[in-house]
Amino acid sequence: MAGVLVLLSIALITIYFRESAGGGLHQVQSAGATVLRPFEVAADRVSRPFRDAYGYFAGLVHAKSENNRLRAENEQLRQQASQNAFAASENADLRKKLNFINSPQYPRGYGHVTASILGQPPSAFEQQVLIGAGSSSGIQVFDPVVTGEGLVGTVVRVANNQSLVALLTDDTTSVSAVDVETGAQGVVKAGASFDQVGKDQKVKSGDILVTAGWKSKAAGLSSIYPRGIAIGRVTSVGQNEVDLYKHVQLQPFVNFKTLSSLVVLFPPKTR
């Protein structure tokens, strides 16, 4: 009996791996997930007040130190905002003079679906969350996912009414990024490091990284992330003689422990 179940599990894994995303087993899983959804929603609603209470008290613990940090940051941002306002008007003026044709820019030109988080796989391997919207809401695999704080990740699996989102901190997530201050380009991996930054490029602690949103006309390829989504702030920069690239660490803007709802982006013309 146990042997049969083990063989059945191995058969399931093999078939699931070999078939396409629209295969029979995926369809069965999607239907099963739809059946389970009301139970997950009910459990989520019951547990939400407890989670909110925990979040409230956890927030109080850090409130004082965070308040001082935010005051200092606010001063800095106020100065930056006035400089940015001037740069923006100058930018608009120059674009008009150059007849510059812009590609869709985040958040303009992108449609979105807001979905709440239903659950999470019970494993330390995947940094993923399950959201309560799927293909019936227009979501497709590789759609970028954000919150007001910045980039959260990307959709990796879609069912009728649910989708699986790989977080920025997942080992499989890589995002082309650019340093806003210096223009240095690289790849953010697992939400912790800014890799493939050449030694000739300038990156310093405190710099802000955003999605690069590259496009290659020759290859007909483009990044799945629109340009300009905030990713995080550089926390340390190092380099040695042997390595080709700098060692850059970053802290994502999004607090992945307090996520409750997410926004899935998609270009409106494609749906």
């Binding site: 009996m1 599990s9 894994i13 899983q29 459990a43 330390a124 399950l130």
Partner: protein, 172 residues
């Protein structure tokens, strides 16, 4: 027997839903309590190999379906876990006070190692240090804390089967 199957299915279904929606979001150095594993160990200890393996397979399917993970991965690991613990319960462990705690500790470690091997075999990136060094100690502590109430509940639901050797008290 049918009542046992219904109770086992209900308990593991509730455990799987709670695991997916609530407990997996607890994150202490990537470690989270595994209610499904603890419940399965308790059920398998009390009901033996076949029940344990079948319960593990079913619970794994529910978890994989609810979280859109590769179907069969959790089922495979939980089937083996349920069978082994059921065997331990049938042979030596069922009546010992420490049995559930020892079983949960051993299965938590073997489950983590098994999951790591399976992820490597499937070509998925997995950090061994994160799973075994960072997450495991906290997962073990959480699971041991859960063992006491979960095993007590399962013991109420699944009373040990009669052995046929009833104690006779002689009076007079």
């Amino acid at each position: 027997m049918i009542a046992d199957i219904a109770k086992g299915a209900a308990v593991l279904f509730v455990a799987a839903i709670l695991q997916v929606t609530l407990l997996s979001q607890i994150d202490v150095f990537h470690g989270a309590p595994d209610l499904v594993l603890v419940t399965l160990v308790s059920v398998a200890l009390l009901r033996g190999t076949i029940f344990g393996a079948a319960a593990g397979f079913g619970a794994g399917l529910v978890v994989d379906t609810a979280t859109l993970q590769t179907l069969g991965v959790t089922s495979l690991l939980l089937t083996i876990a349920g069978y082994w613990i059921g065997r331990y319960g049938e042979t030596t462990g069922r009546d010992r006070t420490h049995a559930p705690f020892v079983s949960v500790a051993v299965v938590t470690l073997l489950y983590s190692i098994g999951a790591l091997i399976l992820h490597y075999m499937l070509g998925e990136p997995a950090s061994a240090s994160r799973v075994l060094l960072d997450a495991f100690p906290f997962e073990l502590i959480f699971n041991l804390i859960l063992t006491l109430p979960v095993y007590a509940l399962c013991r109420r639901l699944f009373r040990p089967p009669p052995t046929g050797l009833e104690e006779v008290q002689l009076l007079g």
